[in-house]
């Protein structure tokens, strides 16, 4: 009898339990819940997102999510970080388990449209796929890798670019495909593969974790374009705006020379109307994008600094990753970072 009742209850729940998407748009849900769920690379990706000794997540991707939380809630702590893998990230986003991915996901046509139907509001990191090889192999170009065994993560653009690159150059390779990045790196470290391929920045991060990082060299070629940025579900224009203009605020701040240290002083004294609008001294911009208040950009810069400061803190020359700014510099300094005007 009890089983019958439970069965009927289960069917009832199934029939009544309508979809989360019907209940309202993503931003409304996030506001209702009081936190934004941010999918990050698990278990960790040095520089981009790692839990510290206290179990608090920190890194480049983490601060992007916290900046979005400031825009929505005026509070950087209103983020729940959910570790996802290269395989689980898209189902997690599609099912609403996370609201935003901040895990070095590449913006591609099929992910933007296709069956995935995601949105890429802004690019936060310009990367390109590279290959790492042990120094003793004396390889100088990826074209010399005919017949090599290559360690690669499944379900990534990396996996597809790799196949394309070898096909295009009429050379062959043998993939070793493991989902868990740690396990894959161990296989490469033990010599199971001749080559480890990933986005350049991610390879630099993985190299720091090898037994002898100095014995491995990342070849200079970039075999693909990898524009990385926060990813959300398609269909919520308001959330798209918030994420895009959060990133643009970081870029604008660097262009205008606004830093964590001088933001208050600049807000009080600067007379440049562009700066005054960005920092909310002249109101209107925050309200326009649906932020918690007009001072959202000021709050973000006060918490984390501008784009350059965030980059330098987690990825720059003083960190183990030691990445150059390169393409990830603002446009006035020869990079690709260019934000539309906030007006």
């Amino acid at each position: 009898m009890k089983n019958w009742l439970m069965g009927i209850a289960a069917v009832g729940a199934m029939l009544l339990g309508t979809t989360a998407a019907d209940a309202g748009r993503d931003l409304d849900q996030i506001k209702q819940r009081g936190t934004i769920r941010c999918g990050v690379q698990g278990p960790s990706n040095p520089g981009f997102g790692v839990p510290n000794a206290q179990g608090v997540w920190e890194g480049f991707n983490i601060e992007i999510c916290r900046a979005v939380a400031i825009t929505i809630f005026n509070d950087p702590s209103k983020v729940e970080f959910v570790p996802v893998t290269s395989q689980s990230r898209f189902p997690a986003l599609t099912n609403g388990e996370v609201d935003i991915l901040s895990n070095n996901t590449t913006w591609t046509l099929t992910r933007d449209t296709g069956v995935n139907r995601f949105n890429f509001p802004a690019i936060v990191f310009y990367d390109g796929q590279s290959v790492m090889v042990p120094r003793r192999l004396n390889v100088t170009s990826a074209r010399q890798l005919n017949g090599a065994t290559v360690c690669v993560q499944p379900g990534t653009t990396t996996e597809l670019n790799l196949a394309d690159f070898f096909r295009q150059n009429n050379i062959t390779f043998r993939p070793v495909v493991i989902e868990a990045l740690d396990e894959l790196r161990r296989a490469y470290d033990q010599g199971r593969c001749d080559v480890f391929t990933n986005d350049f920045a991610a390879l630099a991060a993985q190299r720091t974790l090898l037994t002898n990082p100095r014995d491995h060299v990342i070849l200079p070629e970039r075999i693909s374009k990898e524009p990385l940025g926060p990813t959300i579900r398609q269909g919520d224009e308001e959330l798209t705006n918030i994420v895009a203009w959060t990133v643009f605020a970081l870029i604008d701040a660097e262009e205008f020379g606004i830093t964590k240290a001088n933001v208050d002083q600049i807000a009080a004294t600067n007379t440049d109307p562009r700066v005054r609008r960005l920092l909310g001294v002249e109101p209107g911009m925050g309200t326009a994008i649906g932020a918690a208040n007009d001072g959202y950009a000021r709050a973000i810069i006060k918490a984390f600094g501008n784009y350059g400061e965030i980059f330098d803190r987690w990825l720059g020359p003083t960190t183990p990753l030691a990445l150059e700014r390169g393409q990830n510099n603002i446009w006035t300094k020869g990079g690709l970072l260019y934000a539309p005007p906030a007006r």
């Binding site: 069917v11 979809t19 998407a21 290269s86 599609t94 069956v115 090599a148 196949a163 394309d164």
Partner: protein, 394 residues
């Protein structure tokens, strides 16, 4: 009382809920309707959710080019082949690990089970220690261990050279292999003829034993029948067959046949793990055979090998087969842990497909139904065998 009942029955006045047959039918019909309702509700809920998220359900992706590479495959696979072919590659890899795994597990499991009952205390304790350790640690952990051990072999340039053209390195084991040519057809035919000859000889020997009680050994003749005809077939053609011998070329070995580290680690892990369970099942089966059977067999003067082979195991099989079936199914299903160590099995390829195409529901439906089919087929085969060895009660 009884007179009233019979009177009602006669006049056809029994209510249908008082009739056990009709009541049973009604309940079963209700249950089936309920199950259909559950399935329908789950399906329509899924479709509603998918359309709410703008997802479409369809199989068109199967014919699109996969554009990713697969490490090992029984059939040829290029990156321009379709997702459908990639899935077939994964399925064949799963079948390969399951078939090889089941055969090796059965052999090892039976050997361990018999050893565990050995009168030699050292052997018995050793096996029981093995069984306890292996059964009580997670399989995934064991797979990682085997993979790490195999990967710590020397690199291809320092490969262990353990025989002519045989190399062992962290790229796997490479041995020479026959290069296929049409001249091999007569050899295969000769081999088949030899096997038929062995079967015929066996029947003759059995008949002879029934008639005369004389039991000459089969194996010297069998060995001859197995080796001589293929040899003659080769000799007649002047030994045309060539071998493909592995040699180090650039980064890796080329030629020969390969046992990849991923396959080897998965096979070792699955076989050692499942064999521990099988050993216990075999031990239980043997112990279930009545003591009198042992004593009677010894009284007939059978050697300990004959005793096991002719008297005990055939009877133990009746107890062993049913639980053995579920171990075989476990092995097949556990092979999906291949994902963790990068062996391209069905789940591994499905996961990648899911990720590259976004067709999660379709991909899961595909591999779930394939596993179900494989399990049901294994089960059916084992049930048939079980019916064959079961006691015929008359």
């Amino acid at each position: 009382m009884s007179s009233i009942d019979t009177a009602r029955e006669r006049s056809g006045q029994v209510r249908f809920w008082n009739d056990p047959v009709k009541r049973g039918l009604a309940l079963q019909a209700g249950l089936i309707a309920f199950l259909l309702l559950v399935v329908w509700a789950a399906w329509s809920n899924m479709m509603a959710n998918m359309s709410a998220r703008g997802l479409v359900f369809g199989w068109d992706y199967l014919s699109r080019p996969a554009s990713f590479a697969i490490g090992e495959s029984l059939i040829s696979f290029a990156t321009t082949d379709s997702y459908g072919r990639a899935l077939v590659v994964g399925l064949l890899n799963t079948i390969r690990i399951a078939v090889v795994g089941i055969i090796l597990t059965t052999i090892l499991g039976i050997a361990l089970g018999v050893m565990r009952l050995s009168s030699n205390p050292l052997l018995a304790r050793l096996v029981s220690g093995y069984v306890e350790v292996v059964r009580n640690t997670p399989l995934l952990l064991q797979l990682f261990l085997w993979y790490a051990i195999i990967n710590s072999l020397p690199g291809p340039r320092q490969a262990v050279h353990f025989g002519p053209g045989m190399y062992l390195s962290n790229r796997g084991m490479k041995v020479p292999w026959i290069e296929w040519s049409p001249t091999l057809w007569p050899v295969i035919a000769a081999l088949a003829a030899g096997l038929v000859g062995i079967l015929a000889l066996r029947r003759r020997l059995i008949r002879k034993r029934f008639e005369t009680g004389d039991a000459p050994p089969l194996w010297p003749f069998a060995l001859g029948l197995l080796l001589v005809p293929p040899f003659i077939a080769l000799a007649v053609q002047g030994f045309p067959t060539t071998f493909s011998v592995p040699e180090l070329q650039g980064f890796n070995f080329t030629g020969g046949i390969e046992l990849s580290p991923e396959f080897a680690a998965l096979l070792t892990g699955l076989v050692l793990y499942t064999a521990a369970f099988v050993a216990e099942i075999v031990r239980g089966g043997i112990q279930s055979v009545y003591k009198g059977q042992w004593e009677a067999a010894r009284a007939l003067g059978l050697s300990s090998g004959q005793l096991m082979r002719l008297v005990i195991l055939p009877q133990a099989l009746r107890v062993i087969i049913p639980p053995m079936t579920s171990q075989f199914l476990n092995l097949t299903k556990n092979s999906s842990l291949a994902v963790a160590i990068g062996y391209p099995d069905l789940v591994h390829i499905s996961n990648t497909t899911m990720n590259q195409t976004g067709r999660a529901v379709e991909a899961i439906l595909v591999f779930a139904s394939i596993y179900l089919t494989m399990s049901l087929l294994t089960s059916a085969a084992m049930n048939w065998y079980n019916a064959k060895v079961a006691i015929r009660e008359r």
